[in-house]
Symmetry: C2
Subunit: 228 residues, 2 copies
């Protein structure tokens, strides 16, 4: 159930589209209720619901707060995997305020995605943003292969360096990309492409499910970057 609704703000009025109006009805909202809106681009609105229509609704803004972006950018890049896990992963990464989610096809990905699925992934991110009152919806991209440009790349890997040694180093990073491989592991050829341009990091000896691993690494990175 959402804790916030997507709104379009103009002057002191917010407008909610037909999907959001449906959500209002599911939540049994009534005119006069004080609700929370997000615009997906950084602003949280407190508004009073005025009109609850058939295909759109509107409210009066009582308060608005622009959440300043820190100067840091975190991307989670994950090899395509089965939908239920991918869904949880996108939801959790959004809850944790990631800036960008990249799903790439890896040679051993058990299920492959193409760009036509971007909208489906984005819907999950938008729902998670509403649920967690995260005013910024992460960018979502489907890529043919992993991207490594423009960022400090961290590759989740059992044999990697303990993340503990990297707190000071990572705390200063402006652009981090965390790369999570497919369950069957990357191929030798992929590893060769990754090795030179990534720092392998380990989360300890435990076998974590992919979505757990992503939450753990994002928690620690958020901690390093001062986001928690």
């Amino acid at each position: 159930m959402p804790n916030a609704y997507f709104v379009l703000a103009e002057g002191d009025t917010v407008t909610l589209d037909s999907d959001e109006t449906k959500h209002l009805k599911v939540m049994r909202a009534n005119p006069g209720d004080k609700l929370i809106g997000i615009d997906g681009r950084g602003t949280i609105y407190r508004f009073v619901l005025k009109e609850l229509g058939k295909s759109s609704s509107s409210g009066k803004i009582v308060e608005r707060e622009y959440i300043e972006r820190d100067k840091k950018r975190v991307t989670v890049a994950v090899a395509s995997t089965k939908w239920p896990r991918l869904r949880i992963l996108i939801e959790k990464a959004t809850e944790l305020g990631v800036d960008r989610i990249e799903v790439f096809n890896s040679v051993r990905s058990v299920s492959r995605l193409d760009e036509s699925k971007t909208a489906k992934l984005l819907t999950v991110a938008k729902e998670a943003a509403k649920q967690s009152v995260n005013p910024r919806v992460p960018e979502v991209s489907v890529l043919k292969s992993f991207a490594l440009e423009g960022s400090r790349n961290l590759l989740l890997d059992f044999g990697g360096r303990a993340i503990r040694e990297m707190q000071r180093d990572l705390a200063e990073e402006r652009n981090l990309r965390v790369i999570v491989g497919p369950e069957g592991g990357f191929t030798q050829k992929e590893i060769a492409q990754l090795t030179d341009r990534c720092t392998s990091i380990s989360l300890g000896s435990r076998t974590l499910r992919v979505e757990t691993g992503v939450i753990v690494i994002l928690s620690i990175i958020n901690y390093f970057l001062g986001r928690i």
Copy 2:
């Protein structure tokens, strides 16, 4: 699907009971396969499957490793909530190597548990231990109310202190209990009982689902305690 099986070790032989034998069959294991076993009390075994019977199986131990316990103890204490969330929470806490899980009934708990459910909760923890090759199954208890004895207690709370300020302090703790309230919040009376004996800590401004919050706090505590 399990990455390890529960075994009973005697001399150089491991025995697997009927439930584990069923799992072996689901995984299409065959005599001669090299598998991993855990005893729930700290030892990981590598063994070769010898006999796959109707109601029990056995294998020959090739290697055994006792995972030393650190001198620290982490308990997660959570107000009873709906089963699907509670299940995920127990699974994730076990993946993250928690020592003890307490589920307590809170005045505003949407669903209440009694001791008869302990076995059901323990089964989830055991399955998660097998999946994550965690050789120690956490203790699981159902309590009438929250317990606060014998530990440094951290209460997850929006208004709490930033966990960032507590790294040095918590790194030294030998016995930590993380308390997570019900979705509707504790009552005033409960808060009065908790306040004096807990440190309130915040995970930032985001609204996290209960299971996400538990993974985030355990990740950071594991980091503080040197478990990651």
